[in-house]
Amino acid sequence: MKKPVTLIIITIALLACITLTKNRLTAIRGSAPPLESMAYLPGSERVKPFMLGFNTTYAHYLWIRTVIYSGGQFMGDRQFDWLVEMIDMITRLHPHFNEAYEFAGLMIPGMSNNPGAAKVILERGMNVFGKSKWNVPFYLAMVYHRYYQDPDRAAENFAIAAQAPGNHQGRLASLAATFYNNAGRDTEALDILLFLYETSENPEVKRHIEERIERHLEEMAGDGV
């Protein structure tokens, strides 16, 4: 072996060169345009067998990627081309991923300009959750109201959302009644209010619905119904 001093000098020189090259490479990579990491996303049904049972894990991983992707695109060119596919895959791999449905209802219609896709994903969520979660039918109702100008379907979904357990029942029942009224379905508006009044165990919710029923009856009397 060579003398220790020579070895130390060679080591230091190599380390310095490695550090310089590493910094240069980091700078080169940093200046490159960001990669479209979701440039292909296979259909979830085809991916499932390859997940080896790790569907939920992959769905959560994909969820993180979706959030990062959305943030990145929001700060960049605001083109959300892959958002629908990503949310679709998450909800297929993990059908009980409530946050993903919420995200679909809130973001897909506006960001991806694709209310149709949001409607399909939320309707699938409705099949999964039924009346156990208020947010899925609520966002579906909002999609029908805002993007399809369909007060009938909006009212029906608000009514389903109002039936989900929780403190939101009073306000959602009120919203459902308003939309039924707008759709000219006054009787159904009263029905949903009465149904929720009878089934709710929360006194605060009962009080809120009671007020709404009184107002509704006054309106109906005013209209000569």
């Binding site: 072996m1 070895l7 060679i10 080591t11 190599l14 380390l15 060169c17 490695i18 550090t19 090259t21 590493k22 240069r24 490479l25 980091t26 080169i28 990579r29 200046s31 490159a32 345009p33 990669l35 479209e36 990491s37 440039a39 292909y40 996303l41 296979p42 259909g43 085809r46 991916v47």
Partner: protein, 255 residues
Amino acid sequence: MRVIWLVALNTFKETIRNKVLYNILLVAAVVLLLAMSFGDLSVMSRVQVMSDFGLATMSLTGLLLAVFIGVGVLGSEIADKTVYGVLCKPVDRIQFIIGKFSGLFATLALNFLLIALIFITAITLMTGHAPQPEIFYSIFLLMIEMSIIIAAAIMWSCFTTPTLAAIFTLAFYVSGHLNDLITLNADIQNNPILKTILIILHYALPNLEFFNIRTQVVFELPIAPGHITFAAIYGVLYAALLLLFSSILFSRKDL
């Protein structure tokens, strides 16, 4: 130089006789041919999936070779005492290490050549035309990456058992690919001591992601100018550093 050549030639002959090499090659060939059917996984292009799968297989094969053959090549020489027969001749220990590395690298290059041939043939058969030339840059960088892994495997086997050396080499590979995460953690770390440790780790461990241009190649995206050159320089320098450490360790080793 002649001594290094002779050690390298012997190492090459020894490793190509190794059954592990053929098993790994067989697995790679089967997986690559299977990749032809995996092309259906893509909604956009089956060539993209096949290219990605093929390059990933090459990377994995290279790693397996570097670990199983790289670790054993020096460890078995020491364990079987055959190293005495070489070192009692006018062979410097640094020459022995460089020779071993060169022989192993030649085996790896031959292995990559064979896999690349299968891979390119599969793509050509499926698409009817040859793959884009950038794919060769990716294979080249994979070889540079594997030279670092071989050098690391030799370094670990200089002072520990083959089993531990294999584990260390695998850990080295994984941590090398996670180097970017270390940087991210260092950036958000408030504790100055932990931050310093993370920064040291960031510089001490190689960033093996520099050699990964698969995404650019698969999606036909532009590769940043200078990336290939600097990545190659970086890889050669890092492998040289590891070989220097190996030589120091091996020269101090009491055989």
